[in-house]
Symmetry: D2
Subunit: 97 residues, 4 copies
């Protein structure tokens, strides 16, 4: 399954959120999840339980860093007819064009 995550801390007094995104990426790395950062979020490849368990850890980690409100957008692509991979999806729309 592929899931895109985009975490926005609210009420942090500064517009930069990169320290929080770095903390999130560390959680994905610790969970041995395959992930790829883009300019608006991070795509993660894995199984349902491991992805959502990691996301819960991300929220707890950010709360520990002082975030009192976290707004996260999650986009799930759950394909049951074949195994979708991040690399194959990008190749399908960019290659041979």
């Amino acid at each position: 399954m592929i899931v895109e995550l985009s975490v926005v801390p609210v009420g942090t007094s500064e517009t930069s959120v990169s320290s929080y995104v770095r903390a999130a990426l560390r959680v994905f790395a610790e969970a041995d999840l395959d992930y790829k950062v883009n300019s608006m979020g991070t795509c993660v490849e894995g199984e349902w339980d491991e992805i959502f368990s990691a996301l819960k850890t991300v929220h707890d980690r950010l709360a520990g860093m002082g975030c009192h409100r976290i707004v996260t957008t999650v986009k799930i692509d759950d394909r049951r007819d074949k195994r979708g991979t991040m690399a194959a999806k990008v190749a399908a729309v960019t290659e041979g064009s």
Copy 2:
């Protein structure tokens, strides 16, 4: 915690998705989750594990109905400084105005 869920089945040959949304709402009701339907999604109030466990059941239920690909958008509002409820959030922006 409040989470908005919007489930879109892909490759179903018809543009109506209401039978799938009804199936999702049954799952939330069975899980005793407080939910409220709007025209673009469903807001659910509850704890992290119960919400995401229900969402996983929704995906399995839709797969059982013949959906081979399910694209879901999830928006999480995780507030740690006070308990946010659906009713209070709507009241905060509409009352007294």
Copy 3:
């Protein structure tokens, strides 16, 4: 067309965003757009140009209120086979059930 909008100001030093949401709702009202608030966003019914022009005004208005970074999530339901209304969509999944 139905569009759901959810506007999050980043770097505002407080977790409440209701004053900004109220400002956004005033813009929709001024533009004579039909809108309906839910706990995670606002659904707006109208034509493409009037909705996105109103959203641009919302961003400018919030910038004028001191928001230096605005993260907005937009979900568009563009139905070409029939006119979708907010009321009909909610009725389709909740009535008779």
Copy 4:
């Protein structure tokens, strides 16, 4: 401004959406917009009007290809304190780590 777009045709009878994504990418190229594909969407860098005008063209183009319902998710990062670029945002969270 950076905007991520993710277009999902509903009721197309097949689970693959790559021909529609390719059509969308052609629109961005024709509009001379800087864009970058990821596995869950496409990030586009440009000004408000040119991005949303291109997105409207994408919807019309897909309707012309037979899509009777198009569900699009848009994430806008509108930064007023400095010019955010796609490359700088990715570098801020991945470099030196």
